[in-house]
Amino acid sequence: MDLKNTGVSISESSSSKASSSSVMPKTPRNLNPNIPFSTTQFGTSNLCFDSGANQSFHAYQPALGMQSLPLYHENKNKDHQVLDWDPRVMLNNLSFLEQKIHQVQDVVRSMICRREEGQFSNQANELAAQQQLVTADLTSIIIQLISTAGTLLPSFKNSSLPSNPPGGPMGSLIGSEFRSDSAKASEYEELIKGLSNAGDEGDELIKYVNACGGEGTESVLIEDDAMDGDNLPPGSYEVLQLEKEEILAPHTHFCLICGKGFKRDANLRMHMRGHGDEYKTPAALAKPSKEVSLEPAPIKRYSCPFRGCKRNKEHKKFQPLKTILCVKNHYKRSHCDKSYTCSRCNNKKFSVIADLKTHEKHCGRDKWLCSCGTTFSRKDKLFGHVALFQGHTPALPPVDDAKVSVVSDQVQGNDLMNEGSIGFNFGSTSDDVSLLDIKGADDDRGFFSPMNFDSCNFGGLDEFPRPAFEVSESSFSMLPGSYNYVRGNGET
C-alpha cells in the first residue's frame, strides 16, 4: 500500500527507518527492558528529541513563519484528495495508533520493573530520558489522533476560521512534511515537538485575541450603549438571558464535590487536586481544549433580565448585548446600586469596580472647573456646560497656587501612567493560568499582601472579589476608561 498515493496525510510518526514495517510492525519493540531505548528504533527520535528540546522553539519559529504559508497552499491543493477518504486507511491509522500506545505501555511497564528492581538510583539519567521519551510519544500520538480525525471533517478543507484553529495548520504541516520527505525523521520529530508547543501557544493566542475582542466591544459599550458596532438584523442571532443571580454571582466555576466557587476555571482545577489523585493527571490539569467548530457557531447575543430596559428582549427597540461581560457590566451599571465611592473626592460612585479604578486614576486632575462646582477634564465639555446653563461661568484657578498644583499634577500623572503600564503588562501575561493565580487559589483577600501588588494598581489582583475576566478589563481600561469617566461627568 502506497501511503503517499492514498492521500492520507498522517499514517506514521516517528518510525524513521522502516516505513514499510511501520503499518504493522512484525516484532514488538523493546521487549527487553534492559536495552536502553537509545539503541532501538527510537534512538534517532530520542536523540533528535533531545536536540529538539533545546531547539524546538527556535527551530519552530522559522518553520511556522516561513513554511506555513506554502505548506498551507500545498494542503489546499490536495484537499480534493482528502475528501474521498478511505476507511481502510483510517483503519490502518487506528491500528497503528493502537500499536503505538502499546509500545508506550511497554516502556512504562519497563520503567516500573526497573524501579522495583532498585535500579532507579543507578540509572536516574536514563530514567529521566525515558520519561521524556514517553511524553514525546504521547504527544505525537495525540497529534496523530487529531489529524486522523481531521481528515474526516468536512469543514476541515475549508479552514475558514480566520484564527487558524490549532488542528488545521498543524495537520497540514505534519502531512506535508511527511509527504515531502519521510526519511527526515529528526526534523519531523522536531517539528512535531514544535507544533505541540505551537498548539498550546496558538491556543493561548486565540484566547488572547478573543479577550481583546471582548474588550473592544466592551469599550464600545462604555462609549455608548446604542452603538454596538454590528447591526445584526433581529432573528439572525440567538438571544440568551441570564438571570439576575447568575449575573451578580461572584463565582462562575463551582467544585462539583465540595461546592466551593471560583472565579477562574484554572483555580478550580488547582483546587480539584485536593480531591484525589485522578485530578492530578496532566490531562485533568490541562486546559480543556477548544473543539474545532464544525460549522459556524450560531451568533449569540444577550438580553438584560431587567424588565423595561432597552437591553431587555421584551423592549420594542431591543438592542442586544454582545458578551456576558457586557451583560454583567451593563446590569451592574444600570440596575444596581453604586456601592463603590471614590476615596479621593468622596463624591463619585460606581457600581463596577473597574470604573472606580479608572476614575481614581483621573480624580483630582480635573482642571476645568465651573462656578457651580462641577469639574470637567476637558475644556470643551466645560464650555458646553457653561453655554447651556444661565449664569454659570468657568472658575479661575486660585491665584497663587496655580503653578504649584499644575506641576504636582503632572508628576502624579506620570506616576499614574507608569503604574498603569505595569498593570497592563502584568495583566496581559497573567491572563491565563499564572503562577500568581495558582497561589491565590481562591478569592480570599490578603493573599498577595507580602508581594504588595495592590500598591501598583495591579488589575486582577486587587482585594475585591470579582469575575476572572475583569482582570483583563482593568488592565486595558486606560483607554476606554478615560472616556467613560468623561461621560460620567457629562451626565451630572
Binding site: F383, A387, T393
Partner: protein
C-alpha cells in the same frame, strides 16, 4: 472794566456751566478755570472728560471732578493697583462710564476689582496693550453687568476662560476687541456669540481661530463691524458661513486683510450677501483681483465708501470696474498695488468724484497725469498719499494745489521733490499733515513757501531733508505756530540757532532730532524752556549735547513721556537726575551711554522704578544689572528690550569728560 468782571462772576452756576459747554479748547478752559473759585467750581461740575498724567494727582482730581463720565489713564505714569483703588474704589466718580487704561501695564486685577466696585455704571473699558493682563483681570471686569465696550488688544494672558467670564458677566456687550489675544480659540468665540447676542463690533484679528468661529459669528443678528486681520486659519468656507448668516442687513464693515487663505471668491460671497456693506478692507490678501469679483460691488448700495486692496495687482480694466461699480467711494487704498497706471487712475476717478482719500503709496508708475485726473475729478480731496511716487513733478502738484482746496494731508516721502513742487503745494492752505521725508533737494526756500501759506500745519516730517538749515526753520516757525509734531532727524545742517526757532512752537509735543550732531546743550536747553508741552523727544546720536542740556530737560520738560538719549554723552549724575525729575516718564531708551557706569545705571533705574513702562538697554548690561532690579521692573509691568549692537567707533575714543563748550 471792574464792573464787567463782577457781572460775570455773579452769574449762577448753571449759566456758567452752559457757557463752559461752548468752549472746546483745553487751553481756553484752563483760562476760565483760573478766573475765580466760582468759575472753577462750575468747570468742575461741567467737566465730563478727564485725562490724568500723574498718579499723585489722580485721587484729588477725581474728587474734584466728580461728574466725569470719561476718564483717560492711558498716559498716567506709574499707575498701579494701589493708586487706582484709592482714586476710584471709594465711589468718588459714580457717573463714570468710560475708562481708558490702555498701556497701564501696572494695573492688575485688584485695582480693577476696586474700580468696578467704585464705578458700577461703567460701560466701556479699554485695557489694550496691557500685556500682563490675563483671565483674572478680565474676570474682575466681568462683574460689570452693564459693560458694552471692551478692548483687550494684546492682553496676552487672556484665554477662553477670561472671555467666557466676560461673555457670561456682560451679556449686553456691543463692541469687543480681542486682537492679539492669542490664547483665545474657537471655543471662546462660540461661547461669546452664544451669550452676547447684541454684539455690534468684533475684532478677532490675529487670533488662531478657524472657520468654526465664523460659523458662530454669522449667527449674530446685529453685527456691524467685523475685523479679522491676519486670521490665517480662516478660509473661503468661513466667509460662506458669513454669507449664510443672520446679519445680511446689518454688516457694514469687514476687514480681511492678511487673511492669506481667503480668496476673492469667498469675499465675493460676502459682498453679494451684505448689500449694506460700507467698508471693505482686503489688504495683502490676494495677488490679483478678478474682474468678476469687482463687478459684484455693483449690487452694493451707494453707501459703500471705503475700499482697501493694498498689495494686489490692479490693472486698468480692474480700476475701471471698480470705478463703474463703486460710484460712492470716499476712500480708496491702492498701496503697493502692481499695475496702477495713469490710465487706470483716470478711469477710476472719473466715476468716483466723491473721493476724499487716495492712497497710492509705492505705486511707482504714477505720474503727473494721475494727479491731474485726480485734481479734475475729486474736488473734495482731503488726503493724498504718494510715498515713493518719484515720477511726479511740480506740474501735477500745481493742479492738486489749485483744484483741491480742502487737502489736509499729503505724503510725499521719497518723491524727489524740490522747492518748486513745494511752491505748488503751498496753495493748499488747509494742510494739516505734510510728509517730506527723504527729499534732500528741498532747501530753506521751499520750507519758506510752506511756512508762509500753511498756517494750520500740525505735523511736518523732514526726515533726512539734508538741504534744510536754520533759516528754513525760522520761516516755518514764523508761519506755522500750530505744529505739534516735527521730525528733523538727520537734517544735519541744523544748529542751535534752529533749535532756538523751534523753541517758539508752544504747541510742540513730539520732536525728533536724531543724528543732529551740531546741536549742543544750548539748543536743547532752548527747547526745554520754550516747549512746555513736549511729550516725546528723540535725541539719539546727538553726540554734542552735554550735561547742561540734559539738566535743562530735567528741570523744565516735566511732561516728557518718551525720551531717547541713546549714544548721547550724558554723565552718570545727570542721568540719575533726569530720570528722577521727569515725573511722567514712561519710555526710555538708554543704549550705549559710554559715560555711565553700571552703578550709575542701577541708581538711575531705581529712581524711576515705578513709572517706566518700556525700557531699552544694551544687552551687555543684562548680566551686570542685578536680576532683582530687573525682576521688580518687570513685575511692575515694564517691558525691557535688550539691544545687541556694537558701540560705534567714534564713541570708543570719545573723552569721558563732557564735550560742552
Amino acid at each position: 472794566m471792574r464792573s464787567d468782571h463782577a457781572a460775570i462772576t455773579v452769574l449762577p452756576v448753571d449759566l456758567l456751566i452752559h457757557i463752559i459747554d461752548l468752549v472746546p479748547e483745553p487751553s481756553d478752559r484752563k483760562s476760565i478755570r483760573l478766573v475765580s473759585r466760582a468759575f472753577h467750581r462750575a468747570e468742575c461740575l461741567q467737566r465730563r472728560d478727564l485725562k490724568v498724567l500723574r498718579r499723585e494727582a489722580l485721587s484729588i482730581l477725581i474728587r474734584c471732578y466728580g461728574a466725569i463720565e470719561r476718564l483717560d489713564l492711558s498716559a498716567c505714569a506709574g499707575l498701579d493697583d494701589g493708586w487706582l483703588a484709592a482714586a476710584l474704589g471709594g465711589g468718588a466718580a459714580p457717573e463714570l462710564r468710560k475708562v481708558n487704561l490702555s498701556r497701564a501695564s501696572g494695573v492688575r486685577w485688584r485695582g480693577l476689582a476696586a474700580m468696578v466696585r467704585g464705578c458700577p455704571r461703567l460701560e466701556a473699558v479699554d485695557l489694550s496693550h496691557c500685556v500682563g493682563v490675563g483671565d483674572l483681570e478680565v474676570a474682575a471686569l466681568a462683574e460689570l453687568a452693564g459693560l458694552k465696550e471692551l478692548r483687550l488688544d494684546k492682553c496676552l494672558g487672556v484665554s477662553d476662560v477670561g472671555l467666557a467670564k466676560v461673555a457670561v458677566g456682560c451679556p449686553g456687550m456691543e463692541r469687543l476687541g480681542i486682537k492679539w489675544c492669542l490664547e483665545i480659540s474657537d471655543l471662546g468665540i462660540k461661547l461669546l456669540v452664544k451669550k452676547c447676542r447684541d454684539l455690534k463690533a468684533l475684532d478677532i484679528s490675529y487670533l488662531m481661530v478657524t472657520n468654526k468661529s465664523l460659523h458662530s459669528i454669522s449667527t449674530l443678528g446685529r453685527l456691524e463691524v467685523l475685523k479679522m486681520v491676519g486670521c490665517y486659519y480662516i478660509s473661503d468656507d468661513g466667509l460662506h458661513y458669513l454669507n449664510n448668516g443672520n446679519n445680511h442687513n446689518t454688516l457694514l464693515s469687514v476687514d480681511v486683510s492678511r487673511c492669506h487663505n481667503v480668496s476673492s471668491a469667498g469675499l465675493a460671497s460676502v459682498v453679494t450677501g451684505h448689500k449694506t456693506l460700507r467698508k471693505l478692507k482686503a489688504s495683502d490678501c490676494f495677488i490679483e483681483l478678478p474682474s468678476d469679483f469687482l463687478s459684484k460691488f455693483g449690487v452694493l448700495t451707494n453707501g459703500f465708501h471705503t475700499l482697501k486692496v493694498d498689495g494686489s495687482e490692479v490693472s486698468v480694466p480692474r480700476l475701471k470696474t471698480i470705478g463703474a461699480n463703486c460710484k460712492g467711494l470716499i476712500k480708496i487704498g491702492l498701496g503697493k498695488c502692481k499695475g496702477v497706471t495713469d490710465e487706470g487712475i483716470s478711469e477710476l476717478v472719473s466715476n468716483c468724484a466723491g473721493l476724499k482719500t487716495v492712497d497710492l503709496t509705492c505705486c511707482h508708475d504714477v505720474t503727473d497725469d494721475s494727479l491731474i485726473a485726480i485734481a479734475d475729478s475729486c474736488k473734495n480731496l482731503e488726503s493724498l498719499l504718494l510715498e515713493s511716487c518719484s515720477l511726479i513733478t511740480e506740474e501735477g502738484l500745481e493742479y492738486i494745489g489749485t483744484s483741491c482746496p480742502n487737502l489736509q494731508e499729503v505724503d510725499l516721502t521719497d518723491c524727489d521733490i524740490d522747492d518748486a513742487e513745494l511752491k505748488s503745494l503751498s496753495r493748499c492752505s488747509e494742510l494739516r499733515v505734510l510728509k517730506l521725508g527723504l527729499c534732500p533737494d528741498i532747501s530753506d526756500g521751499g520750507i519758506d513757501y510752506i511756512g508762509s501759506k500753511c498756517e494750520k500745519l500740525q505735523e511736518l516730517d523732514l526726515y533726512r531733508c539734508t538741504g534744510i538749515g536754520d533759516d528754513g526753520l525760522a520761516s516755518l516757525v514764523y508761519g506755522c505756530k500750530k505744529i505739534r509734531k516735527l521730525n528733523l532727524c538727520y537734517c544735519t545742517g541744523i544748529t542751535d540757532q534752529g533749535m532756538k526757532y523751534v523753541s517758539c512752537l508752544q504747541e510742540l509735543e513730539d520732536l525728533e532730532l536724531r543724528g543732529l550732531t551740531q546741536l549742543t546743550s544750548l539748543g536743547i536747553a532752548a527747547i526745554a524752556i520754550g516747549c512746555p508741552r513736549l511729550v516725546e523727544l528723540d535725541m539719539k546720536r546727538c553726540t554734542s549735547v552735554g550735561d547742561i542740556g540734559f539738566q535743562a530737560l530735567a528741570r523744565y520738560s516735566l511732561n516728557l513721556r518718551q525720551i531717547n538719549i541713546s549714544y548721547c554723552n550724558i554723565s552718570e549724575m545727570v542721568l540719575i537726575r533726569l530720570l528722577w525729575n521727569l515725573r511722567c516718564l514712561q519710555d526710555v531708551k538708554l543704549v550705549h551711554l559710554t559715560q555711565v557706569r553700571r552703578e550709575g545705571f542701577m541708581l538711575a533705574l531705581r529712581t524711576c522704578l515705578d513709572k517706566l513702562k518700556k525700557l531699552k538697554l544694551p544687552s551687555n548690561l543684562r548680566n551686570v544689572i542685578s536680576p532683582a532690579l530687573i525682576q521688580i521692573l518687570q513685575d511692575r509691568g515694564c517691558r525691557i528690550r535688550w539691544v545687541d549692537k556694537p558701540i560705534p567707533f567714534f564713541m570708543r575714543d570719545s573723552p569721558p569728560s563732557s564735550p560742552d563748550p
